[in-house]
């Protein structure tokens, strides 16, 4: 009998170093008005505690029971196809109403905001997984919901929009050329998650009873996602704990959810597990970004956090990377990478989709493009192990299904899918716009 965890795992209890403090934007001297909280205290408490286990509120636990524990399966058909000696396990998070792991934090956040008196939540979403999860969670906790969806995905994935509306959310493209910051600047572009979050934040500031909810990089969002890794550890049992844990990296909740409970064991000296974050080659913050202070969204007024970043104005050239499009990596995952606790890899888009298609044909589940990054990482790890003559246990998070992503798979099948590498010049130009203090980038 596998139990749904009653607690989330907090890696802050185990890291042997201090996280770099956030730097708030200077508060204007001519603005003496009252300081208005934008976040429920419960989420602040969860972000600050150093307790290793953070209790899951009863009402959230009851919601979790409607789809958890999620299946952990061994990918035997994939192993046979590869001819590998590695044992490949995957934790499937696509079987809930939203179709992805994002529902873990969406439920927890909706409960906190509802308890704090919010009546409406707004958010930005990339491919729509987070927006869908928040729509589902808002419905469960009696909140209205508005989703600012990255324009490229909004137009390319109309049925993702439909399912969010089905669950009761209002969905608009970001940038919306008719409203908000984009109109003020006269900007028209494909959009990115940082910009969508900025537009959502402007909405929250101007509507009574409305608050912004974000789904990935915040410490509490990663904390809520650790039920994935905690369950997997119990399901694998003491006899076959993983040697390698792999997750896709957007801002951090996907990778952190599966990997941090295992990274904690490594930090405590209980295992020598390798944790590998797989990011999109077209948004390579950990593998090619800079570890420095940057904005967490595109507003230019958010607090500065020290993290691996490509610059908050970075826009991917294209490609089907969905929620991996965020310009930076959460400060916790960034610090763990900086200190050598977790590794990172990036692969070309056609290789990612080839692995996604192979997984669908062998295991019978079509991975979301984000999840296909983890699939590819696991296949690469198995191949490297075979070359080295080892037979590790590999665990990865199949974070969501790809049934809303068939247009991208169609492109793959038609042979028209292109590689979308990022040039050094693109990265240099974006990093040149990093925030500065006293004329210098903030290191």
């Amino acid at each position: 009998m596998i139990h749904v965890p009653k607690n989330w795992y907090n890696i802050l209890a185990d890291i042997p170093f201090e996280l770099p403090p956030d730097i708030p934007q200077p508060v204007r001297a001519d603005r003496p008005e009252a300081v208005k909280p934008q976040l429920p205290l419960a989420l602040v408490r969860q972000s600050m505690t150093r307790d290793p286990l953070v209790p899951i509120p009863e009402s959230v636990f009851e919601k979790y029971l409607s789809w958890r524990p999620t299946p952990l399966r061994r990918a035997r058909a994939l192993e046979r196809h590869l001819g590998t000696r590695a044992r490949i396990y995957y934790k499937y998070e696509g079987g809930n109403a939203s179709g992805s792991h994002k529902l873990c934090t969406a439920m927890a956040q909706a409960q906190c905001y509802a308890a704090a008196g919010a009546r409406r939540l707004v958010t930005g979403t990339g491919a729509g997984q987070w927006g869908t999860a928040l729509a589902v969670a808002c419905r469960e906790f009696g909140l209205a919901c508005k989703v600012y969806m990255v324009a490229k995905s909004f137009h390319e994935k109309p049925y993702r929009k439909t399912i969010m509306r089905l669950y009761g959310a209002e969905v608009v493209p970001s940038p919306d050329p008719r409203a908000g910051r984009a109109a003020g600047r006269g900007e028209v572009h494909a959009g990115n998650i940082a910009f969508a979050v900025t537009e959502a934040f402007e909405d929250a500031l101007t509507h009574e009873g409305t608050q912004l909810s974000v789904g990935s990089g915040e410490a509490y969002a990663i904390l809520h996602s650790t039920v994935v890794g905690l369950e997997a550890a119990e399901q694998l049992g003491p006899a076959d704990q993983p040697d390698i844990v792999i997750g896709s990296l957007g801002a951090g909740s996907n990778f952190g959810g599966i990997a941090l409970p295992f990274a904690g064991r490594k930090l405590r000296g209980e295992s020598d597990v390798r944790c590998v974050a797989v990011e999109a080659e077209s948004c390579p913050k950990l593998t090619r970004g800079r570890y420095c202070y940057d904005y967490t969204d595109g507003s230019g007024v958010s607090p500065l956090q020290k993290m691996y970043t490509l610059g908050s104005r970075f826009t991917t050239a294209g490609g089907h990377i969905g929620g991996l499009r965020y310009h930076a990596c959460s400060k916790i995952i960034s610090a763990l990478h900086h200190h050598g606790v977790v590794e990172a890899a990036a692969y070309p888009q056609p290789d990612i989709f080839a692995s996604g298609a192979l997984f669908a044909r062998t295991e019978g589940i079509l991975p979301a493009p984000e999840s296909a990054h983890a699939v590819h990482g696991a296949i690469e790890a198995a191949k490297r192990a075979d070359e080295a003559g080892t037979a590790p246990a590999i665990l990865f998070c199949l974070s969501g299904h790809g049934l809303f992503d068939l247009a991208s798979y169609e492109e793959y099948l038609n042979g028209t899918m292109a590689d979308v590498p990022v040039s050094e010049e693109d990265i240099r130009r974006s990093l040149a716009e990093l925030p500065q203090l006293d004329g210098q980038a903030v290191r």
């Binding site: 403090p21 956030d22 730097i23 708030p24 934007q25 200077p26 508060v27 204007r28 001297a29 001519d30 603005r31 003496p32 008005e33 009252a34 300081v35 208005k36 909280p37 934008q38 976040l39 429920p40 205290l41 419960a42 602040v44 408490r45 600050m48 308890a115 704090a116 008196g117 607090p303």
Partner: protein
Amino acid sequence: MEPRTKHPSRADLRATVVSALLSAKAGPPGTAATVDDETPIGGAGLGISSLNMLQALVRIEDDLGVAFGDRAVAEADLRSVGAVVDLVEQMLAERDE
């Protein structure tokens, strides 16, 4: 564990509040000795952001054994150090009722 019934003095509460506010704020440490009830929280005063404020309240919860409610915080007009001290006194009184 003995029940907490004896309230700290207002001066002690102010010292606790100011210490929590300044430690939550990143950057150069402030000068607590120059802070009084009228000192603004944001703007030209302590320059505290809304997130810093919430982090400070969580520190105060740990220090004093109180629990702030979101609605009470949202309804409080947290313009000055004195307003935060008022909120803490209110929470202490409610705790001990």
